[in-house]
Each structure stands twice: as structure tokens, then as C-alpha cells.
């Protein structure tokens, strides 16, 4: 076992892990941060996307020891300080960008990474950026719309309620 220490959502987090312990397992099982989900075993679905040192990564495809000393952000740390939904989260609710909610944490974390890199993405850029996030419920329409809305773009011309 190796002791790891990292900053998770602004707080120190440490624990003893095996070499094979994935970052996603450390977050879910050691830290009780079960918002990071595991939907596949081939690093494709993206339900586990978190930010490590500011970059989006798949927490199921990184060992906890590799995040030792890192700054980690998860879905649990995304809301505003007063507990209200942040701009991206609020856009997902406003535009019905989620149904079962299982892929949602990864989608929100990917969206946050996208908007940091590209503050006004086009539809095609949003769709392309989500290549590593699979949603089975929404058909992506409202996810794409929500992310574009969160970037401050007018989405009223995009069909739907």
C-alpha cells in the first residue's frame, strides 16, 4: 500500500492505495465521492471524467498514485459556493441535457474543460469534443444545446421546447 495525498475539490484528501487502485476507485470508495461514475472498462464512455491539475482525464484510466500531489476537481465541487448550480449545471437543467443522470457528471466535467479551452464553441466543435462521452438517453441534442447556452450563445433557434 502507498499513501497518496491530493487536493480534491479544494480539500486535502489522503488514503492508502494499492498500485492498481484507479483514481476513480479512490474517489468513489475511499473519499465517498460517488458522483464520478464507471460505465465501461475500455476508457470510452467518459462517465468518470474529472479534472487533474486542470485537465480533463478519465479517472478510470489513471492510477490513484499517479494523482499523488495533484489537484483534482470532481462533479461534487462544481456548484457555486452558495450551493447553487454553476452556469454549466444550470444550462443542463434549463435545456434538459440529462435524463438518467449517469453520464452527466462526465458530461459536465468535459463541458467545463471545453469551455475553458474554447469559450464559444460551434455545434461541430461541441460534438467533436464529446467523442469520449457517451450518453444513451438524450440523443445529445439537449447536451449540445446546453453547452452552447452555457457559453453564452443564443440557442433559441435550435429546435425543441
Amino acid at each position: 500500500m502507498t499513501q497518496v495525498t491530493m487536493t480534491v475539490n479544494g480539500k486535502a484528501a489522503s488514503g492508502d492505495v494499492e498500485g492498481r487502485t484507479l483514481l476513480a476507485q479512490f474517489l468513489r470508495e475511499d473519499q465517498g465521492l460517488t458522483g464520478t461514475h464507471i460505465g465501461c472498462d475500455t476508457s470510452q464512455c467518459g462517465a468518470c471524467v474529472v479534472h487533474v491539475n486542470g485537465e480533463a482525464v478519465k479517472a478510470c484510466t489513471m492510477f490513484a498514485v499517479e494523482a499523488n500531489g495533484a489537484t483534482v476537481e470532481t462533479i461534487e465541487g462544481q456548484a457555486n459556493a452558495d450551493g447553487s448550480l454553476n452556469v454549466i449545471q444550470q444550462a443542463f437543467q434549463d435545456h434538459h441535457g440529462l435524463q438518467c443522470g449517469f453520464c452527466t457528471p462526465g458530461m459536465v466535467m468535459s463541458a467545463a474543460a471545453l469551455l475553458k479551452e474554447n469559450p464559444k464553441p460551434s455545434e461541430a466543435e461541441v460534438r467533436h469534443y464529446l467523442d469520449g462521452n457517451i450518453c444513451r438517453c438524450t440523443g445529445y441534442h439537449n447536451i449540445v444545446k446546453a453547452i452552447m447556452a452555457a457559453s453564452g450563445q443564443d440557442v433559441s433557434a435550435i429546435a425543441a421546447e
Partner: protein, 787 residues
Amino acid sequence: MPKDGGIGASSKRREDVRFLTGNGNYTDDINMRGQAYVHFLRSDIAHGTLTSVDTSAAAAMPGVIQIFTGDDFAEIGGMPCGWQVTDKHGEAMQEPKHPVLAHGKVRHVGEPIAAVVADTLEQARDAAEAIEVEIAELPAVVNMKDAVKDGAPKVHDDLTSNLCYDWGFVEENKAAVDGAFEKAAHVTTLELVNNRLVANPMEPRVAIGDYNRSDGEHTLYTTSQNPHVIRLLMGAFVLGIPEHKLRVVSPDVGGGFGTKIFHYQEEAFCTFAAKAINRPVKWTSTRSEAFMSDAHGRDHVTKIQMALDADNNFTALRTDTYANMGAYLSTFAPSVPTWLHGTLMAGNYKTPLIYVNVKAVFTNTVPVDAYRGAGRPEATFQLERLVDKCAHELGVDPIALRRQNFITEFPYATPVAVEYDTGDYVATMDKLEEMSDIAGFEARRKESEAKGKLRGFGVNCYIEACGIAPSNLVGQLGARAGLYESATVRVNATGGLVVMTGSHSHGQGHETSFAQVVAEMIGIDENMIEIVHGDTSKVPMGMGTYGSRSIAVGGSAMVRATEKIIAKAKKIASHLLEASEGDIELKDGAFSVAGTDKSVAWGDVTLAAYVPHNYPLDDIEPGLEETAFYDPSNFTYPSGAYACEVELDPETGVVTIERFSAADDFGNIINPMIVTGQVHGGLAQGIGQALLENCAYDEDGQLLSASYMDYAMPRASDLPFYDVDHSCQTPCTHNPLGVKGCGEAGAIGSPPAVVNAVLDAMRSGGSKVEHIDMPVTPSRVWAAMNG
């Protein structure tokens, strides 16, 4: 103006807040004190005799608590099948035993052979590798037509053949149908495959068994769409646990799409093992396990024929379908290719004579059962591809041919035993033509051609039977369950309500839309209403969510219970207002006496019910809680017309969806935002089936598409923005909300439009192709255009 609450409002979903902040409570998020983990050793051979399972070395490995094999379950009931189909000779289907753990033989890749329970999951996996399994391999049957040939290897030695049933519907019509074909001016024939799919909800299945020695109660936490059904099936038929000693909880469930309806071995195992080892036992499926253990969907091979008269009227339809059951009968498998498929073969058309034959076949593959649409996508695909082929052969416009044959008068009794109550297929087609800008298509085609691409346009109609289902009818058809729904409405003293519904939400947003209905009925704020579901200890009874039934059946039960609440509340109000009960009106959350300014607030009445100081105790009991069971008198019949426009790269065969329009008639709508979202999701799954998804086996029964590396899940970049409309509304006539259901429409209605569009594009490039099977991959398109 959009409403800001109640029925018809696009209320924001209240469940979103917990999902968006990582506070959902999915089954895998639950960890029990002292829990052990189970790993299932699964067969990597499709068919063989299990000659030996030696667990002795494995049992001695670190952390191992106990290892179970088929012998441990030999005396226990098999996994039950909930529907018995009667074949065309009046005989019951062949129904093999489906053991919890393989016994005697293995019959598909992925079948569990042994279960290792250990302190940690990795210890269980380590020990599973030390189990010595000997399997004498037998030839596998994979192809359905081969499986029913004389001399084919038998999946089940104790059955007479691999034929589960040979179903004729309506058998009495067969001679008349054949006669009509003899007299036909034109006959169109089409042979096609409806590709096998894997439902793939993003949350893999999870089961946690727990046993309380002090009161003898078992608890199963499971990712199910219908926890009460699991309680009944597992308690009564597998483990022999009475329902009052068995609690089943399905908390937040991350999508279902049908595959989480069924009762699975892992659920029974964890429940059983928790008592056996006196510790909670947890199983979490990996995605790779899901591919070989979740029930698959579709997998039909069909020959369909249409007879037309000289004026292009449809005069008769007949079909021959082989439907894959897989190695065992999953919970509702036999009903899918029969009662959910044959009864829909009339589609939107007044074809007077129809005969449907379905041969259900056992193969050495994962069991096949309902997946979003379940039988209805298969019916729609073959019929709507056939109608397009008719039009092509006759040289007539495919939309005109459809319009000419539309059913236009309702109610309409089809020749396949159902009666459509309402619909307006002309209106949805009119709407579709407007949405899809057919007039502009030729210009768009020219733009594509200028880029070296081909462009195609395809349409289809669909009809579905939802709101499943009248219990007395399905009982006659072989269902071993009733298909009502229940709801209990509990009003608290301070005026808030808790609705306990047997419907289960796993993405559909019931917590929001169900509350809208009750809020509308009473005239109070939606936030005063809490929707509780997914726990057999909280909800009295439930048949769950599938078949687009929740709002039509579960919602109706809730309406009935709420009506009872309102009736009793009016009695209390009449006492408080010292007025006649018949004069009491409920509006905007207040009771008033008609024609006066006397009124009493909702909260005053609810308080009186629980603090009955000034209360008609001689007349009525205190308290305000009512339960209703609602059993529908008919199915509901959502319908619609869909159009797809594709661009095809003739050099690579790559097809992209450029436009997709959907005009649906769902009857009345509770929350338009949620309904639109349901259609979007269905469309993505239908387009996925048409272009991307394919669950494939090789001839030895090895699963070729066993992970997301080979099973193509639709991504955002594979799909367009959709144009969705549900302004055509012919309300259902037989449920109190006038609703029809919307969950499956997109998946049912989209595949034929996509394929019709691709064929149109291919033909515009000079191809003579008549049909192409799904998924329409670039490789297949290229081969068809260059073959």
C-alpha cells in the same frame, strides 16, 4: 404562452439537481457494512457439457468466503418466464429450465458457471481463475434457420427441438390471406434482418443482497425498472421467499431501455448468498460482462409480402419471421415477437387481411428480450421498408402510396386483433411534409452532388401499442402477470403530498411530471408534492416502467387515487363550510361553496383530516390517504411520421444524417420538454440501430462485439439536431389523462426512414440496390454500390 406549472408546462426537472451535483444515489453508490463481493466465472464456450467444476484450490485462496456452483442451486427454481405463448396448433411453447448457475451444460458465452464470494472483488477474481472447469465442447447453433433444421444440435437436450414455438396470427385468416395474394395485381416481397442490439444503459447492472437475521427479512438493491416484479418473480419462483420477507429497492437507476425489466441470475444469487454467508453480497457488472449477460434485443429474420390491387390499394400482408430467443427464455421474451409485434403489423394502413407467422428459436447466444420498442420496431421496420419497396416497384411516390392506404376512421379494428381508439395519420404526415421541407430537397441534393456526395430522403410512418396493458386481455394471451399500476397518495397534515407510484423512473423524469399532474388537479404548487418510487417497502404494489406505460397506466392510477383524495377532502370541506357536499368546488388549492364567497384552504382541510376536532367523525374516518389500482381497458396507440435526409459519400460509403424530422401524436402531453427529450433519445437509438449498432456472433457462438471497442455506440458527432413536433394530438379516449406514451416512439419510428433515405441516395447515384441490411455501415454501402 407556455404554462408555468401543472399539466402542459415544461417544468424543469427536480431530479436534475442531485444528478448535476454528483448526489445521485445509484445502486453501486451503496456500500453495506461488512459487504462481500461476488465475481461470476462465466463460460467462454458457447455450447458444451459441463463435465467438472473443481473449486477446491480456489476455495483455499486468500479472502475467499464461499464458492457456489450449479449444484448449489439444483434444488432451487429456475429463472421464471413471465409469458407463455400458445403456438398455431394450440400447444404451449417449449420452456426450458434456466438455472441460476449453469448445471449440466453451458449454453452461451457469458453464462455463469460459478460464483466466488470473497472479501474483495480482486480476491474473488483471483480465486475464479483457480477454478478448474472442464467442458466437453459441443457444436454451437447460432444461425436460426440452421437451428431448426432436422439434426441440428439441440440447445436443450430435454426439448424436442430448438423451436420454442411456431405462432400463427391470426391463424384463421391464413387461407383468406393466401387467396388475396393469388388475386393480387402486384406482390412485393422483401427479405430482411432486424439486427441484434445491446441496450447499453450507461449504468451497468448492480445487485446487492442483504439478510437481516433478527427479523428474517431479505433486501435486494438492484438496478431494476420494476422492483415489485423482481420481488414477485424471485420470491415466488426462484428462492421461495414470501413477499412480506423480501424488500427490493431500485434507487436511482441509470437508464434501462428494457434490459433492466428482467429478473436476472445475479439478483437471485446475491439475495441467496447474503443469507448463506450472513454478510451482504455485492455484484457490479463490468461493461464487458454486460455485453454477455444483459438480455439483448431485436434479432429477427423476416420475409414479408404485400399484395396490392390494380389501384395500389393494399389487399393483404403476410410475414414469416424467425425470432431469436437466445439460449434461455428471458422474463418476457416470448411476448416480444408475438403480441408486441404481430398485433402491430397493420401499421397505419387499412390492409384488410394479415397473417403473421413467427418461429421463435433457441440458439447458443445470450437471451433476447425487450429493448426499447420491443417487437414494435421490428414490425415497423419490415412494414415501412416494404411499403417503400412497393412504391419503388410501382413507380409511385412513397408518401402518396402511404396516404392512399392510411386508416382514416377511428375507432379502427385491425385484422390483427387490436382496436386503435384515435389517430390522425394524415395530420402527422402533413406536419412532417412541412417540417422536412420536401420542396427544398432537390436543391439540397444538387448542393451535395456539387461536392461529389449523394443525398437521399426517406420517410416512414409508425404506430405502436403502448400503455401496457389490459390485464384480462394479456391473461388470455399468455401473460403470467397483471399489467395494472397502483398509486397511493398520502396527504400530510400540513398539506404536502407524497405519491407512491409503482412506476419507476430511470431517466424519464416522473418525479417532475407526475407531480405536475397532481398539482394541476388540486391547484397547488408542484413543490408540495413528492413522488416516491422504487422501493417495495414504501410503495404498496407496482408493475414498473416499460412499454411507454408510466404516464398512461401509472399516471392514471395516480389520477384515480388523487380523485379519491379530492372527494374525501370535499366532504371535510363541506363540513367545515357547513355546506352541501355537492356545492363544494376545488380551485387553485381552495374549496369554496358554489355561488358564495365562502372558502377554506387546502391546508385547513388537510389539517382537519389529521386534527379532527371539528370533523364529521360519524361520516368519515380521519386521515387523508388513498390508493388506486388502474387497469387500462385498451392499449394506447401513439403514431407518427418521420423523415430522414442523408448525405452519402460514394467513395467511402460513409452516411451522415443531415436532417431528421419527427411528427408524433402522443395525445395529451404533461411536460413537453420531457416528451421532446424522450423522442430525441429514441431517435438516437433508432439511428444507432440503422447506422452503427450490431451485436454479432461468429459461427462458434463467440461474441464479436463484446465491448465498446466493437459495439458502436452513437456519439454526439454521429448525430444531428433533430426537429421534433408533437402538436398533432388526438387524445386517448380511455384513460383519464388522454395520454398515449412517448418513450419508445423515436426508436420505433426512425430506422426505416434512415434506411429508406440511404437507399434513395444510393439509387440517385445509379445503384440498382433493392435493400440493405442494418446497420448500414460504410463497408456495406460501398459493397452494395460496387457489388
